[in-house]
């Protein structure tokens, strides 16, 4: 997939531009259903996705990655901020206005069981988007059968029901449905995490092939960094609704800057007993705090092993360390003094209130290599 790697710098208008998006869910209580609090599911995230690239979105459950995905395809309306797709702000469009755009963006869901209507035949499930968007009836069947073949199923399966398929096959049906209208962008929300490893790889290969054949753009949401790395050109790490690191894929694995990323990487199991024994595991303590009442300052500070006072008080801005690598941390890892000096607070990716003064000053001691290299 490397051949498709898009360099951040070579610009051009991005396919998708997410600007300072916040998606909050109100918590209502009482007889009058007053809003008493908000879940800060996505809290001021800025991203862009170039055509043809795959952006990986990782983080623990509850970090807002799925919400961001749903906000991007406008299953949710952002509370604030803009989602710009092909230069058009779609963040406030109504159902009707969105309909034509739906052809361009599709979603693949996590649960292969819940994402297919159990009462409909496969043909009808995949054919529905065609029907909605007025594709001729005679064409529909043919197109559905093509799609079935595309995702590695037999066209003969046209009249079967979802319950007659295994998990992996169902996920293929989900992909076929997403592809029905030749979308440009596919948001895949944990498409493989409910599958066995052996089936996971089938799916990953399939998605890979499809990208090549159909020049698709993916936003790939997952909690497994191994999987993300395999498919992504760039990776965004989220924590408690915030974007904390954004980096070209390989760079992230070799040189994580944010301690959270480091911890995530070190948690990925390695199917190699010797290496597993050798490597240093950073086991994060505790769980992700509540997004209703996120911690002050750096949201990761209560679990961070490099935490100092400033982390508790000041929210670190996303800082660009060059080469398209951004991170929000007061104590960046794997960064030497010079890089640090050159680093700039990224204007585009940073909340308005942050300025150059909030730029990190002290690198964390020691170099982290969460991933040992085997031969």
């Amino acid at each position: 997939m490397g051949s498709f790697g898009m360099n951040q710098s070579n610009g051009g208008d991005p396919l998708l531009d997410v600007r300072n998006v916040k998606t909050y869910f109100p918590i209502r209580k009482g007889l009058l259903q007053r809003e008493v609090a908000q879940v800060h599911a996505v809290d001021d995230v800025t991203l862009s996705v170039q055509e043809g690239e795959t952006l990986g979105l990782v983080g623990e459950s509850g970090c807002g990655k799925s919400t961001l995905g749903r906000t991007i395809v406008r299953l949710l309306e952002p509370t604030e901020g803009n989602v710009i797709f092909e230069g058009r702000d779609i963040s406030k469009l109504g159902t009707r206005a969105l309909r034509p755009l739906r052809r361009q963006m599709q979603m693949v869901f996590q649960d292969p069981y819940a994402s297919l209507n159990p009462r409909k035949r496969v043909g009808s499930i995949i054919g529905t988007p065609l029907k909605i968007h007025g594709v001729d009836k005679s064409e529909q069947r043919q197109r559905v059968q093509e799609l079935l073949e595309t995702v590695g199923l037999s066209p003969e399966h046209y009249n079967r029901f979802p319950h007659e398929f295994s998990g992996g096959q169902r996920q293929r049906i989900g992909v076929a449905r997403a592809l029905a209208l030749h979308p440009k962008l596919i948001v895949a929300d944990e498409p493989v995490s409910a599958l066995d490893v052996s089936i996971q790889s089938q799916m990953l290969n399939l998605l890979d092939d499809l990208q090549k054949e159909l020049s698709l753009t993916y936003i790939f949401i997952a909690h497994d960094l191994g999987v993300v790395r395999h498919v992504s050109n760039r990776i965004a790490v989220m924590y408690l609704g915030k974007l904390v690191e954004l980096s070209p894929a390989e760079e992230l694995y070799q040189r994580p800057i944010m301690p959270y990323t480091e911890a995530l990487l070190s948690a990925v199991p390695i199917p190699d007993p010797d290496l597993s024994h050798e490597r240093e595991r950073i086991v994060l303590q505790g769980d992700v705090p509540s997004p209703i009442n996120p911690p002050s300052g750096c949201r990761f500070h209560p679990r961070c092993r490099y935490m100092t006072d400033i982390c508790r008080e000041v929210e670190p801005p996303l800082t660009s360390y060059g080469n398209g690598h951004l991170a929000a941390c007061h104590h960046p890892l794997n960064v030497d003094k010079e890089t640090l000096a050159r680093a700039t607070v990224s204007e585009r990716y940073t909340p308005a209130e942050a300025d150059e003064g909030a730029k990190p000053k002290t690198p964390a001691k020691g170099e982290a290599h969460p991933i040992p290299e085997s031969g």
Partner: protein
């Protein structure tokens, strides 16, 4: 040699269902000794969970048939009556399950559910049991265990619930801890915590562990021995290092090859096992893996026995390919070069 705790001999478990007889476990043998960690690996439907539950007699049902023996310290679990089984369960062998949310009773506090086992098995009084429950929660790393002991499961996060499950399983110092996909429903970060916890507690409690998973990566670090199951059968069995560094069964290669490796440069393509697991009602003839195996040949129409075919003793597999052929073929699979 450490004390032999469990010995499974020719275990078969069959369920009668509306659609026919499901041969969920179809001939499984293994042994487990004190201090040992045994990994059982396989896809869904490979019979690994059924095997584990059968060890505790949890699959007993009117529609279930058993063959073979499950010996716990020489006593056949399959032949025990309910009372004897209850003595073994929780007390000598205990189990943690995949989904900690549904595996804890929502209407009792976590503490009460831990105390329950203690009170039953150790005839401890309420306050003793409670004190022990708090200790256990501390041991599994639950902060403020004194107060959290009275919380209900829904007030715990997923990781904490699984810790509570572990505390409950360890409440009576069991000899054997069976963990059935304990991390599948959890985030990777939490998964790491839990695996580490099991590894640590195994030593503290001087237990043996059976760890069931579909992800070989999970067991690589802590297992001593690994059993790979496919369609109800053991297809490969070896010491952990042997299995990882000298896997004999094409299915095992498939499993290993399908994991995206962070420790290696990014592969162009992942290996994957084509097709889907076979029906347990009408399973294929011969080698069960034959329909999905890229290396199948005529002989595979006959089922290979589970035998030691390599130099290392105790490394068993079910594949007709010669060892040399295997070693030659597998590298391509493992590196992901060979696509399905």
């Amino acid at each position: 040699m450490a004390e032999r705790l469990i010995e499974v001999k020719g275990l078969k478990v069959q369920f009668a269902t509306e659609d026919g007889i499901v041969r969920a476990v179809d001939g499984v043998d293994f042994e487990l000794s004190r201090g040992q960690v045994l990994g059982i690996v396989g896809e869904s439907g490979s019979g690994k969970s059924v095997t584990a539950m059968t060890l505790l007699g949890l699959t007993r049902d009117r529609n279930t048939r058993f063959e073979g023996e499950v010996l716990y310290k020489g006593r056949n679990v399959l032949g025990m009556n309910e009372g004897e089984l209850q003595e073994v369960r929780g007390n000598e062998m205990s189990m943690i399950f995949q989904d900690p949310m549904t595996s804890l009773n929502p209407v009792y506090s976590v503490g009460a559910q831990i105390c329950e086992a203690i009170q039953i098995h150790e005839r401890a009084d309420k306050s003793t049991a409670r004190r022990r429950a708090v200790d256990l929660l501390k041991q599994v790393g639950i902060p403020n265990a004194d107060s959290r002991v009275d919380n209900y499961p829904h007030e715990f996060s997923g990781g904490m619930r699984q810790r509570a499950m572990i505390a409950m399983a360890l409440a009576c110092n069991p000899d054997v801890l069976i963990a059935d996909e304990p991390t599948t429903a959890l985030d990777v970060t939490i998964q790491a915590q839990i695996i580490e916890l099991i590894d640590r507690l195994k030593d503290e409690f001087n237990s043996a562990v059976i760890l069931i998973t579909h992800d070989l990566g999970v067991v690589a670090e802590i297992a001593d021995e690994i059993i790979v199951m496919y369609a109800g059968r053991v297809v490969e069995r070896a010491q952990t290092r042997d299995l990882f560094y000298d896997p004999q069964m094409p299915y095992t290669w498939g499993l290993l090859g399908s994991i995206p490796r962070l420790d290696r440069p990014k592969q162009e393509r992942l290996h994957s096992i084509k097709g889907t697991p076979p029906s347990l009602i009408r399973s294929p003839t011969g080698c069960k893996f034959r329909p999905r195996c890229p290396h199948a040949f005529d002989k595979c129409m006959e089922e290979p026995p589970l035998e030691n075919r390599v130099e290392t003793p105790g490394h068993l597999d079910r594949c007709w390919l010669s060892v040399a052929e295997k070693r030659q073929l597998r590298e391509r699979t493992l590196s992901g070069e060979e696509a399905a």
